[in-house]
Subunit: 437 residues, 2 copies
Amino acid sequence: MTRRSTVPLLVAGAAVFLATPLWAAAGAEATHNISSFLLTLAGILLAAKLCGEIAERVGQPAVLGELLAGVLLGSSALGVIPATGATAEIITILAELGVLVLLFEIGLETDLREMRKVGGSAIAVALVGVVLPFLAGYLYWINVPHGMGEGSTLGTAAVFIGAALTATSVGITARVLSDLGNLSSMEGRIIIGAAVLDDVLGLVILTVVSGIAAGGTMSPYSVARILAVAIGFLAVAIAVGGWAAPRVFRSIANMKVSFAVPIIALALAFALAAVADMAGSALIMGAFAAGVILARTEQFHAIEERVRPVGALLTPIFFVSVGSSLDINLLNPMRPGGGTLLLIALGLTLLAIFTKIAAGYAAPWKKFRRLAVGVGMVPRGEVGLIFADVGRRSGLLTDDVFSVVLLMVMGTTFVAPPLLKLLFRGATVDGNPEHLL
Amino acid sequence: MTRRSTVPLLVAGAAVFLATPLWAAAGAEATHNISSFLLTLAGILLAAKLCGEIAERVGQPAVLGELLAGVLLGSSALGVIPATGATAEIITILAELGVLVLLFEIGLETDLREMRKVGGSAIAVALVGVVLPFLAGYLYWINVPHGMGEGSTLGTAAVFIGAALTATSVGITARVLSDLGNLSSMEGRIIIGAAVLDDVLGLVILTVVSGIAAGGTMSPYSVARILAVAIGFLAVAIAVGGWAAPRVFRSIANMKVSFAVPIIALALAFALAAVADMAGSALIMGAFAAGVILARTEQFHAIEERVRPVGALLTPIFFVSVGSSLDINLLNPMRPGGGTLLLIALGLTLLAIFTKIAAGYAAPWKKFRRLAVGVGMVPRGEVGLIFADVGRRSGLLTDDVFSVVLLMVMGTTFVAPPLLKLLFRGATVDGNPEHLL
């Protein structure tokens, strides 16, 4: 890497950001136009790569750059990514495909036997990592003076705040671990296992809280049923698919038509995601299950190699899209009430961070880098965004409370990648930690 | 390929088609639901590969199977691909991305110097292939008794019918030639060159005809301006890009972040497509120009290798989508007026085929397989669909006339791949034809 090669790159980057008003103008003129969508898409991809590069050059994971690219391109900053309209909807769908392909790839790299070895620890980390943040969030909202809601409204909002603190974004952490080559380390496996369980639990909590928000009550029976369906889907899909997939994919490998194996593999990931959703579990659970299933086939390497370029195109769209949902005006302490709101959000973010770090110490019988696991559970990412969105749309969260949740989600999402990078720096690529904390 | 491996494949195929009513039902229940979209997407990918496989096993190009998969999944048959709604819109966008990536890949394989050698022949084939079908279509519609429109309506409709016969679908032919390994043969280069020019001319005609349809008149000056912009865009983009791209991509190749080269290459393709559209040219011209530009960079091979899996995912969506627009009820001669309509469409289709075949003989000074080039110009594909759609939406074509145009488009699209396969069978993979016609 010479200085000479850096200059044109920076010039190109500067040119892109100077040109963005043109794109925004083109987008504003024709919101339903395919040209406007294509320019936005091109801008997202270019910004993701340039910001990812800057992040890597200052020693940070590329995903942090992609998140920041999203903030820059978002509607509150440069406005390349519109907040609403046809282009916004298509970008959201592509982002969703991106996170599905990412979870599929993570599933592909998941060795179930290795996973079982850390299963107990992962369950402990997941459970403590759900209960602790929930209680902390609830008590914080009830007790901190903030003037947002009172009486029964306050109580329901507090339940929601607690719930929003529970689920980890498996996508962010997995991407960082993958960037660092630590996905298959013991810590990596515990984090992925716990984060997947966390998502299942978070989904159950979301369903329950949404039910309460809609004015209903939840019997312990219906809560148990939701939980059983969510976990049952994963178990059944992996059991049935694990038996059938090696047989079916042996036939597919004999097909003459090009790219049959990776494309049918992706079709399976999309189909299982849909089935998971319809069965009451999460989309990403289905994509993850498809990956785990195909990890056992003989075609595993061919699938991984051919799906990677597809993931390289789609997953940055997801991270940029997550970043673009941050309204940077919220970070301005000078706007009316802005200072108080930032302080309340800061408190909630610190609680969100430290309760998940505490969860890293939940399995004392096993030796692993507890701090690294705890930090790996910190980012709330898109799962937190989904919680915040459901809360706002159900009328349960006012705009101010929604902003607080959004700031907490962003804070945890942005703080985790550099911390993980720091904590995993000592570990070798193949995942043998040099020193256990 | 053993008989043993075929059986589970066919069983899987049968299971898919038996399961489609379930998917259609799921789609009907929740049209705005991401699960429904994901199931449709999975169905498209699986059907494309299975039908592509069947096509290859009976000695046909895979793209014919993908088109037929579209007919099967379309709203008039199994109904997996809805005709309208959120899922339909997203599939259309993904299909558009698919044809852009395809044209980008074709551009990547286009050697400008080799192209120049066949330039005169390509121009002759393109010009005759536009004038002849236009006149034939116009005269056919004016003179054949069909009872659809009369007086001035008949004349305007006849102009439209003629126009719809002009443009070749470069996508279909290029994909067939690529499947057969004949993209770089002399015939392949003439076909691609002529089809690209054809698209430019077709676009100019479409703009003019749309202007007439909107009640305006077109001065020769404005027609010339549209033509100059369309051709000028291609020339300027290739000249400027051809100078800048090798320099910029040398810097990009030095980037540390993964997949920077192919992803920024795709961003360029999408951005140039948008610029082409905004400059009054066609989207696919921009993507094609991006490919031609990058064909001259040192990173050409890395781009091609990494973009191919992305194309393998997206381009079948395009072909399936084209196939799905065929309403199979139109093929029923027993419905009222169905027989007459089919006969009129058959006449128009034969004219469409033979006028393009005649265009293959337009460059007598050069030796090449003329019949192969002519047949390569036959498929009207998505370009014909765009014409038909514009005609219907402007109120210029009644539903019956629209159906006739649609049947002509489908007829030419389905007849070309097997004929091309037949004609290019004697040619070697690297494109030296064994016998010249």
